[in-house]
Symmetry: C2
Subunit: 468 residues, 2 copies
């Protein structure tokens, strides 16, 4: 169910682009044309663009212009463009279309793109669109929707070429000519046994370079990476990356071939999963700049409130030492430095650990070695920072005891930060929680509270009368 | 210069893997075999693995075991494995090999993989290896090394199939049979004019489904994404992702075809570039867990020292208000909360902005709208947190004036944090600096110092006598 016209896409005209992005002046002229109700002019500007650039354009124009833009460009807003739209922008655009029109668009897409569009809809809208589809397309999409979100089953397309191993190369070529829609791009042919279990693959280049009378069984690659239909998309992406796959067979619980995932679908996942870490660590949700303000507020405020709660721990610790602070206000001024440098050190270790876990580089085989590595790095950093802080404080306050106290607190807090930065994500991973999501809160809580506790506690222990 | 044996890789045996990673017990048995000097046994365990898994194994065993492991597995440590090794681990392994042996490995790799190995070597080692290469291979690699690091010229391979547009499909098929090394995988054929400028592409599936007498010019796709040889790899990755490319032609300044980049090379770049942000934002350098401790220390301590310096700004601001703190120690306890929540809010906005810039979603066309969006999110968050803080402080200290002061400080600091989180990365980008590298320092500096200044300043202005 792919549209032949999707196949031959023009690159966008060079004057609309600037370093690979639509230029501000181009977007400006489209908006100006629409505001002047010159829909012909807007269409003339937009129609030559590549669908991926038209999709970008919808994100770049103001929300209030999106409906008019859709109307103005008419059938240039085709299935290929809709498949490329940002999720939130697509909601805006689809809201203007009837269920029948949406179904029409979906008929022109591969299963995976059609599923991506329908899976985010409300249940009743989904029903309406499904009812408007032809039975065969509906069955494919309903089958895909039975798999968990973000699983291989949602990502795969059902359009593929599979042949029995008894065929000769000549027969395979004839079969490909007979059955494939010229618009469906494919890069590998799957060889299956009578029960439709994959037994090998043939790359298209081998079909071209092998004499026609040779049997498929003699040239196929027998070993291949099979993707279980319920595998998480992040794991799928790692498999593609590790084994440099172009496409891979997806199999059901019985080991039967049910679909194919191609690398161009996975490239999006890799980008998204790798970029997600930085957003999750900061508690910024999915961080889409097209998300409505209120939904962004809901996600972010949850983390800020959590941060407020953990901040109270620090405040309580500071409160414990109020007598010391009253006697020597310099303690209040210096303590945030100890907490902040510790927080930064913990953050560094945590970012490295989260990335190493996400890319399968940190496994039980090298956990102990990695922890020991982080301790050594933390000791070196701690000694450096402690020395600097001791010198600075001693010089500024003219008191070496105060310098010694802050240096000790700094050293210990950086070592604790290093340990927390590696242990917190590891522990979350061990309990099957996403280490990127909650690590930051715990690590900052530990480094902040330990920073204040170590410095103010040591100062009190030594006695403020020696520090002033 | 690719080795036929690289083509048909076995998937690694299932008992060595656990959720796609080498299991701890498998790595343990390899290490045990090597320590018991049972090199035969170690080889028997390792040889059936996929090259990508052998490369992982080298990273997972202790550094001191790597040399023995290389010796034990002998020729299972082939070019495909070396191409997959982590940079730091590869240094360890190559250090044990002679220049001639390294040259031998490089002969078996595509240009891009060979370049990736040689580009990190010291100049004299590089010279030795180049001298040991056959003249044709040396010329290819030397040509690639003339391009800037992380550019398309380093990433491309020179092995490709190019045909004139006057050929018929039958002639192209005959040409492909005659010239291509069966081990070189290719997915598209490039059509060039007599000056070798690309004029179109043909996907292999079209060769199969088109009648043999048709001319290339009639079925080729005329528009294609051309990659200039000096384009930065991050930009290359974005082009592949945006236009869902499988391979793309690389052209020199005169527009002539000089190489091809395939998606499997780009997948690594996408992973790496997208994951880099989180590491850069935290000041953790390239964050490779295989990097030696001292080199990690050097990178990280630089940021911690910068953080120390900016921390002194906060300390100075707190020092300005020492009279107020002396009069009311609660101010010292509460001020870190204002700074910390502001820092967190700034961090959220910054992470979103850095990702949006990295993925070309934030351009001059929507800058103003995005800033206005962040201000609204910050106002909502600020009002929520201010209300919570006002209630908590008033209840705990039984003083509504103190509650009001901290609420105002909180609200303003979160709005400033939102502005800093979006403006700092945008400004760095405007000055062609990498927004991921330095944003964190500036944003934290602003939110910390403004947090202390706003809260302590407001408290002093209102007068501590009303707050106690």
């Amino acid at each position: 169910m792919a549209d032949p016209q999707i196949m031959n896409e023009a690159e966008s005209p060079r004057d609309a682009l600037e370093e690979g992005r639509l230029s501000g002046s181009f977007v400006g002229s489209v908006v100006a044309a629409i505001e002047a109700e010159d829909f012909e002019g807007a269409r003339a500007l937009v129609a030559p663009l590549h669908p991926a650039d038209i999709a970008d354009l919808f994100a770049l124009v103001p929300e209030t212009t999106r409906g008019l833009l859709a109307m103005a460009i008419g059938d240039a807003l085709d299935a290929a463009v809709i498949a490329e739209l940002d999720d939130y922008v697509r909601d805006d655009v689809l809201a203007e279309m009837s269920a029948r029109e949406v179904a029409e668009v979906m008929t022109r897409l591969d299963t995976d793109d059609a599923v991506a569009i329908i899976e985010d809809m409300e249940a009743d809208e989904q029903r309406e669109v499904l009812d408007a589809l032809a039975p065969a397309d509906r069955a494919d999409i309903e089958a895909a929707l039975t798999f968990p979100e973000e699983s291989a089953g949602r990502l795969m397309q059902r359009e593929l070429v599979a042949v029995p191993e008894t065929m000769s190369i000549a027969e395979v070529v004839a079969h490909v000519r007979a059955v494939t829609d010229p618009a469906t791009d494919f890069w590998e042919i799957f060889v299956v046994d009578p029960a439709r279990r994959p037994v090998g693959t043939i790359r298209l280049s081998w079909l071209l370079t092998t004499p026609p009378e040779i049997a498929v069984a003699d040239i196929m690659q027998r070993e291949q990476t099979l993707i279980p239909v319920d595998m998480d998309q992040e794991e799928v992406a790692l498999q593609f990356q590790k084994y440099a796959l172009i496409s891979a067979a997806v199999v059901d619980g019985g080991g039967r071939l049910v679909g194919v995932i191609t690398v161009d679908d996975v490239v999006h996942i890799i980008q998204q999963e790798a970029g997600e870490d930085v957003l999750k660590l900061s508690g910024a949700g999915d961080g889409d700049i097209n998300e409505p303000v209120f939904s962004t507020y809901r996600t972010r405020s949850r983390w800020l409130v959590t941060n407020l709660a953990t901040g109270i721990i620090s405040a309580t610790i500071i409160g414990l030492f109020s007598d010391s602070i009253e006697a020597l206000v310099a303690l209040a001024a210096l303590s945030p430095i100890v907490a902040s440098v510790g927080g930064n050190a913990g953050n560094q270790t945590m970012a490295v650990t989260v990335r190493a876990l996400a890319t399968n580089q940190l496994t039980e085989a090298n956990t102990r070695r990695t922890i020991w590595r982080e301790i050594r790095v933390a000791l070196l950093n701690g000694l450096t920072l402690a020395a600097l802080m001791a010198m600075g404080t001693t010089a500024f306050f003219g008191n070496a005891v105060l310098g010694g106290v802050i240096a000790f607190a700094m050293l210990f807090n950086i070592v604790i930060a290093g340990l927390a930065g590696v242990m917190v994500p590891l522990t979350l991973e061990r309990f099957d929680a996403d280490p990127a999501v909650a690590s930051s809160v715990f690590v900052t809580m530990i480094t902040d509270s330990m920073g204040f506790f170590l410095f103010l506690g040591l100062a009190t222990l030594v006695g403020v009368e020696y520090l002033g």
